[in-house]
Symmetry: C2
Subunit: 136 residues, 2 copies
Amino acid sequence: MHTETNENSIFPKGEKTSPAYFTGTAWLNVLVPQDERGNYTIGNVFFEPGCRNNWHTHPAGQILIITDGKGFYQEKGKEARPIAKGDVVVIPSGVEHWHGATKNTSLTHIAITNITEKGAVDWLKPVTDEEYNSVH
Amino acid sequence: MHTETNENSIFPKGEKTSPAYFTGTAWLNVLVPQDERGNYTIGNVFFEPGCRNNWHTHPAGQILIITDGKGFYQEKGKEARPIAKGDVVVIPSGVEHWHGATKNTSLTHIAITNITEKGAVDWLKPVTDEEYNSVH
């Protein structure tokens, strides 16, 4: 595991995420693989500036707790929501969306992702540069 | 709601917790009352120096994510575990324990508390000064 941190970060960055699901570079530190009832998993995600994940859905939803930096959360067909340190995003099940950093700042969030028999996430297409640039 | 923050805090402090369950002063900011399946609640707790909660149990467990400061986590009959920014504590169901700040530093943690039909926490006796002082 990588243990690089910046001065204010709470957790080590962890491992690079799969380029299949992210544009740019992001890092995942799994904090709790699953709780004792198997209902959710907890991870810390660090997005470098310009990085965002693909469009995706969660079969039982996800909660993001933004602990540092600035970025965006966008649901399909809606205006992007700027997000920053101290914000909480409750993502309903089945809603197509993406999240990531701004072009010039990193974004760090804790993600509590609900687990189901059908998994925890369904990955879709990348967020194109045109889509990403349009929210700035 | 109180909105005082210190420079590095992620969230406003929220509301003072009940003196029935804490020795000293702590603050609770409910971040997510419950997730969409009703499995857990998420709150941010700020313990002032010297503050700790009572001995208690959780019927389905709790997870603490320490985001700032220093403190202790102790299970009944075991040595206290020092905890600090970046630590994660997985508290099993039914295990009697307490957590709180050190005498001279505050402690801030996010708590993900599993919900059951029997509630989320069973409060027991206060941590005495003798018990608290002995872990320092």
